[in-house]
Symmetry: C5
Subunit: 357 residues, 5 copies
Amino acid sequence: MENKEVISNVSKEGLAPGTLLYTGTPNSDKVKITAITYNGEESSVVELRTLSQIANYPLEGQVTWINVDGVHQPEIVEAIGNHFGLHQLVMEDILNTRQRPKAEDYGEYIYFVIRMLDFEKGGKEDELTREQVSIILGKNFVISFQEKTGDVFDKIRARIRERKGREVKMGADYLAYLLLDSVVDHYFRILEVMGQKIDEMEAEMIRNPGNDTLQEIFSIKRELIFLRESVSPLRETVSTFTRLQNSLISQDIAVYLRDFTDHVMRVIETVETYRDTTSSMVDLYLSTTSIKMNEVIKVLTVISTIFIPLTFITGFYGMNLDFMPEVHSQWTYPGVIVAMAVMVVLQLIWFRKKRWI
Amino acid sequence: MENKEVISNVSKEGLAPGTLLYTGTPNSDKVKITAITYNGEESSVVELRTLSQIANYPLEGQVTWINVDGVHQPEIVEAIGNHFGLHQLVMEDILNTRQRPKAEDYGEYIYFVIRMLDFEKGGKEDELTREQVSIILGKNFVISFQEKTGDVFDKIRARIRERKGREVKMGADYLAYLLLDSVVDHYFRILEVMGQKIDEMEAEMIRNPGNDTLQEIFSIKRELIFLRESVSPLRETVSTFTRLQNSLISQDIAVYLRDFTDHVMRVIETVETYRDTTSSMVDLYLSTTSIKMNEVIKVLTVISTIFIPLTFITGFYGMNLDFMPEVHSQWTYPGVIVAMAVMVVLQLIWFRKKRWI
Amino acid sequence: MENKEVISNVSKEGLAPGTLLYTGTPNSDKVKITAITYNGEESSVVELRTLSQIANYPLEGQVTWINVDGVHQPEIVEAIGNHFGLHQLVMEDILNTRQRPKAEDYGEYIYFVIRMLDFEKGGKEDELTREQVSIILGKNFVISFQEKTGDVFDKIRARIRERKGREVKMGADYLAYLLLDSVVDHYFRILEVMGQKIDEMEAEMIRNPGNDTLQEIFSIKRELIFLRESVSPLRETVSTFTRLQNSLISQDIAVYLRDFTDHVMRVIETVETYRDTTSSMVDLYLSTTSIKMNEVIKVLTVISTIFIPLTFITGFYGMNLDFMPEVHSQWTYPGVIVAMAVMVVLQLIWFRKKRWI
Amino acid sequence: MENKEVISNVSKEGLAPGTLLYTGTPNSDKVKITAITYNGEESSVVELRTLSQIANYPLEGQVTWINVDGVHQPEIVEAIGNHFGLHQLVMEDILNTRQRPKAEDYGEYIYFVIRMLDFEKGGKEDELTREQVSIILGKNFVISFQEKTGDVFDKIRARIRERKGREVKMGADYLAYLLLDSVVDHYFRILEVMGQKIDEMEAEMIRNPGNDTLQEIFSIKRELIFLRESVSPLRETVSTFTRLQNSLISQDIAVYLRDFTDHVMRVIETVETYRDTTSSMVDLYLSTTSIKMNEVIKVLTVISTIFIPLTFITGFYGMNLDFMPEVHSQWTYPGVIVAMAVMVVLQLIWFRKKRWI
Amino acid sequence: MENKEVISNVSKEGLAPGTLLYTGTPNSDKVKITAITYNGEESSVVELRTLSQIANYPLEGQVTWINVDGVHQPEIVEAIGNHFGLHQLVMEDILNTRQRPKAEDYGEYIYFVIRMLDFEKGGKEDELTREQVSIILGKNFVISFQEKTGDVFDKIRARIRERKGREVKMGADYLAYLLLDSVVDHYFRILEVMGQKIDEMEAEMIRNPGNDTLQEIFSIKRELIFLRESVSPLRETVSTFTRLQNSLISQDIAVYLRDFTDHVMRVIETVETYRDTTSSMVDLYLSTTSIKMNEVIKVLTVISTIFIPLTFITGFYGMNLDFMPEVHSQWTYPGVIVAMAVMVVLQLIWFRKKRWI
């Protein structure tokens, strides 16, 4: 969640738009390309060994899903892009992994960018990381690009392979919807984890609040800023998607898109609610701190105000002056004690009246 | 109001959209199905013992209202849904009880989701709970699903049974409006309770503010965040409802919808006003605290500033040095007393000038 | 301005929409009905003794204005409503005196709700109260309902009786505009009073700020929240009014409506400006408090820091130990004095460098 | 900038809209009417001595500009208004000098209201004052009304008289634009002065911040609230102006209107930027204050925490008890000194660890 | 980033719109004019020595790009403007270097204003400066005006000269897009630098926060205000640009414009995220400060509360009164010690219960 990451095509500045260059985190994993084809009757999952195999796809009469894990090799993206007739800018955006979530209609295909968020395992603490997922929806094919292997698409893949579920009977548009929806569904997992953290923070704040609690709340706040930045452009994406009633998107999936819209809205609203809640928690925390400080200061003041004058009196009769006539009187001692007692009582009454004690 | 609850289809992640699975709080109550039919001349209320009885409905020439208390048995929702030709996604949304309030037009019927809010009786303190109410408005029938038995619909049921009121003469669209309106009307009860709490808090804050007062205000603030989250999507719902001028909704109820819109707007505005009011209360509380602290510190400062120098003087003449010539003078004692008195007077003048006392 | 009041149809919950029931503050005044008729040539003002007299109105060829003071007798509202063919919901809204300001087109007539605000005379302090004014504009009649006698309509009535002014020559639509405008004009009086209070607070805050000042600013803030809640829906009302270019509203009064819109906008903007101003005042007040506290603490610190070490030294030589060799030296006394003086000077230099004194 | 001024037609409350009454500050200056006529070939500037001279205008084939300095004589406004066929409401608005900036299309003419702002010379400090400028754009004439003599129109007048510049070749619409633009241009002067003040405040806040600095920042904040209130309705005005593509406004000046829009937007944005900047300054100021207080309190605490225990020890051996055996030991004195030194060192280490010193 | 700079045509106030006058920072550099022409086959870069050479351009059948470095000589802008038929207002806006970013369609050409931001090298610290870039897109030419030599256009120039890249094959519209995009791309560099600063601030705030940290955060906040002011009008510019589907902009570059829009949106969102982040940091900083102050005050209070009463007791028995009977008892000394120990222990228990230690 370093701010540097947020920046995008910095290193491309000055280059003509259209130069293919990977701008994400360096990555040495092998790029893995999987071709999944299916229709109502059959399905197959093939891992492509060589880039040239891509020429066999898309299969006629089937839905073809090309999934690419790793975009750090521009030549692979270029080869696939050229084969499927993608625009230069689309290929750039796939490689330049800091795009805003968006849906762009290129006529022959629609290009989606969405961010997959996850808590990174390991490390001192779970940190929110993001990965750009590019999805291209064509006439009878879907191409998806991810930055890393291992993803939320596994279950979809499994169901297609086993030819279970509604998806095998429907077109490429349904598959694209499914992929987008599974990314958004994963946001709910993120939000659940955050919600638990917030609940824990809240409990801790009542039991035993400390500086750490505060820092953790602020760290959640920053994660929410990060999350909101990733999620809020989805509103636009969704409305673009819904408006795109062209030949690529059939009437049948309109209800699914509406459902998807709903999920996106729910994510956005939950993020907003969490932001309100954490802000409210910080306010409560600071208010409580301020009230406690007030109480502490009152104790200090009461003690000081009672004893400082008394101590002055004792100091007064502690002076070693030769000529202090009352020192020799036997009534001075009880007199001093009575005077002190009266002072204390008066002060206590005054404090009580002021509601300090 | 745990944040975990806010999350919705987490456990469904990866499943194909379309899998029927109940995701709400576990519930072992028996699901209760009531069929109410009426027209201008007759009315009947039947509790269905077996699921197969559903096949008798809807009755021709009457308005049929199927009310289902409990959605934790997917098979029941599925049976009813299939009988009335509901879309798979509608059945899912009925079961998945954390939907956003919405109105969706499926052509043959309209699907409404709304949240019923209530203060949970018992427990250490009244806590706001929510329950999802799904309402399906078809040509001559209304189906309503609730999570729990016992609801705000009782009075509507009673009036239909006794064939009193306008509703028996009007169509299913009016009944749907009536159900939605009774849920929104119940929000006013919630707001009334909150308004009273706020008034009490305010009175307490003037009489005897404490840390508890603050915590209670913040708890109301959180409830308002919760309430707003439930209520604000209704604005959209209402506008969808109003736009849906299809064959299911007759011109006659347009004025009722406008009235409903008005109620929703009033709820939303009241929530906003309460939020402003509580924020203002917290600000006032903290300001008052800060001002009191200032006063306390002033007292401390005045007392310390007066006595610390005096005590120094007494300490000075309390030193047991052999060679302190003025100690032996008989003018030292009155001199010290006069010096002290002058110091005190000067300080008091200075404090008065600074408006500290 | 109790929050309870804000709530509206609570006690009606569960009743069918359409049940006539007065929900405002109990009121035992007699309802007063006045019928005013006029055209360019003649005008008459009649107080109706019996409800049946209403049957004589509206007069053909004249503008008829029925003004009803008091809506706590549902039967009167019902009788008038039925005579003029008002919808059931309109009658309900007239009785249910916590409606949002609105303009609703019922084809044959337009129904307006607006809130009349006033400072209640008497009591410990002027408190803002509100009264619902319902105005029905029909073909050649206007009906107005108020909660209490005594209103801002007196001058309009007077002018009609004396057949002065433009109004007698114009239609019912102009009269409706006139009534609405006189309510909005009265808001300016409210704002003027508030503006004066704010100016006074500001002057007091410079002269002699205290806890009371703060509480009064917050009370103005709450009144502004209240005012805004009453005024902001007017924006909508006005735009509805302007859009309603049906047979009831002639082209001639379009310019007056525009003027009315302008007044409403001015009220809203002034409320916003006042909110900004009071917020700014609270901020300034707290900032000043904080700065003063800083100053007080500095004084405390300077005094303590100077004298505490000195007092320690005097205490040191005040110890009654038998074996303290330097006590017997004649240089100790001047030495101690010089040491103390040096310490004080060094501390003063240090404080000066730190800009504390 | 008294709030009372903000209020507008208070004293008119209850009067029929349409009563001509001056509601601004009393003014005894003579109203000065100037008639300026020009076309491409000739130009003349005439000061009208009697109101009847107005009958000569507008001149055929020339652009006529009637400028009226002073609107405190309703009869003058009425005479001019009647001669040029102005609507009653326009005359009212000219007289009632607290209108919102607006542009209203009356078919035959367009009525503009704009506020001229200026720092009032003299007085203890420059205070922002406002003056309402009403501009009426008719077929071949422009009428402008100001509250006071002396204005930003002087240079325009001069250029017309000398027949320099583009304006003499263009129509009345260009002249109206020119007048409006010169008022808006003057806002930049206001903003420049404020910008300088803000820069000064900022410098002062770094050098030597004090309570005065804060008060001055808040006074600038209030001026910005005032400015924004005057400027923000201009956005609307401008969009109305641009939309009014009727016979009064020629295509040729569309680019000038766009330019004008731009100036208005720039003023609004600059006001917003200044608001952000001053808010940021206040925050920084308070933060700095809070940090300094922290530092002061640390010093107090360190000094007190070190010396209070030491003073206790000296006090302990200053007791005059007969039976205190260690007092007679010769090791007590060095023992006490060592103990004190150790305590001080330990405390210093502890403070260092806590980063307090 | 002086506020004075923000102001624009102040010195032009009163002048007729249309007077050519340079209003930027005085500049004595020589104005440098470069003419670049190219098509698919050839390209040339010529630096114009005399202004009259401009008459040779634009070349037929080629794209002509006139780049002018320096706008402080109005006569040059006027000559070029007149040659290419630019409107008077365009020339003014080029000279008046404080325009809002905008896109204006003049039919024959489109006029763009955009702000180039950069950190000024040298000086005590990098300060954000801005430079106005005016771009005119005509049928087959582009004219660009900058305030200073040295710019982000160098790489584009280089690529055209070497006839690499897509641009040489495309029209003037693509070149205009390229120039705008390179300016926006440079914003990412600015944001990257800021992002790094924010990350550093954050690390420093955890390690060793100080007053300087705070001042630096506020300085970043001000830069963000500055940046936002420059960037946010681009949203509008972009939407104007996209809407301008006239003969000057070919269908082919629609996708590039969409890409450009995306970059602008990303810049705006990043600025917003940074603003949120810095605000959050300030909040955290102040909260931490407040918590630390609380801790400091607790230490002071605990120490004072423990020792002040003890010191009083020692003072009490330090009084030199003749008649203090218990002084002579041998149990007083151990009694006093025990009493003190008990007091300390009780206080410690009390502090522990209050969680102060």
